[in-house]
């Protein structure tokens, strides 16, 4: 809850859209952690998260005049939408660059990963999966699959919320989630 003296997001957006640099900086300082958290669901490296924050706020700046918020939560939802789309664009770029190179696991990595997954079978709560291996494995998913599964299973968003964030239809989200799950299942079966 913001103190009463502080301007609301909507007031800051209006001021920033009118050219007030300080208002835009206030918006940035107020919400950069939110964008960082969203970026952190898709990217693990600090530089990548910083890149998403920069890109998101740049897009936000040029879209300020299109914002017509009516309540406090709508700015956060709008910003989340821009952040998710920026992450999606970046996932697609990364995947294009590393189509063949990253998805392959060495023999040792495959063995380690299988051991970690078998251990997770008996102790799902205390399971420790190597982040590097997980990231490497997830490059086998398309950007769309990765996006929808992360939003569903990591962020815990509903199908309707994902549809709103991505501008996809609800049925597209459902179909994509179904296919993405099937794809990830096929990948996992190779290690189980």
């Amino acid at each position: 809850m913001q103190p009463a003296t502080e301007p609301t997001d909507d007031v800051l957006v209006a001021a920033a859209a009118a050219g007030d640099e300080a208002a835009f900086e206030d918006l940035f300082n107020r919400h950069r952690r939110q964008v960082g958290r969203i970026a952190g669901r898709f990217f693990a490296q600090r530089e990548q998260i910083e890149e998403i924050i920069q890109d998101t706020f740049t897009k936000l700046y040029f879209a300020l005049h299109t914002y017509h918020g009516t309540h406090e939560a709508s700015f956060k939802a709008w910003l989340a939408q821009i952040s998710v789309n920026t992450c999606y664009d970046q996932l697609r770029r990364v995947r294009r660059r590393s189509e063949q190179a990253l998805g392959e696991l060495s023999e040792n990595e495959t063995k380690d990963f299988s051991t970690q997954l078998r251990a997770a079978r008996s102790d799902i709560e205390g399971a420790l999966i190597s982040r590097d291996l997980a990231l490497k494995l997830l490059t086998r998913l398309s950007a769309e699959d990765r996006l929808v599964l992360t939003l569903l299973d990591v962020e815990g968003f509903s199908v309707a919320e994902i549809a709103e964030m991505t501008n996809w239809s609800i049925s597209k989200v459902k179909v994509r989630a179904h296919r993405a799950r099937a794809h990830l299942r096929r990948i996992m079966r190779k290690f189980l």
Partner: protein, 148 residues
Amino acid sequence: MFKRNPQNREHPDRAGKLVLRAAVADEQEIEAASESPFLFTRVRARIAERQRENESGGWQSLPLIAWRAIPAMALVASLAGGLMLWTARPANTENAANTPAVGFGMYEDALTDTTDPGVEQTVLSRNNLSHEDVLNIVIERGEVEKKK
């Protein structure tokens, strides 16, 4: 028979979720990235760069403009093609059987192919002459030459 056992899915699905959650950045990294010094300065620099690009709108925007123009150009070309075919079609289908359509592809073919009687047909139809008119012209010319 073809129904899949849901238990066969359960473990791979749980493993998949574990992998997705393992790929997430930890809070310290997120915090460090969000609090990174000069982050806002870099955002400002990026905005300024993009503004410069938008203002100059130089040659870099040309491929984009061309790309956007392709569908419109294709539409115009197809309309022009359709219009050309429509205007060039034979006006009367009964006459079309006997005489080639003026201005249509047949006309050009007829003029260039001298062995084809189409040449004769084309000349006659273009000048609105019947065979009798042609005969009269030939006779008149013969008489004029005799007088000379």
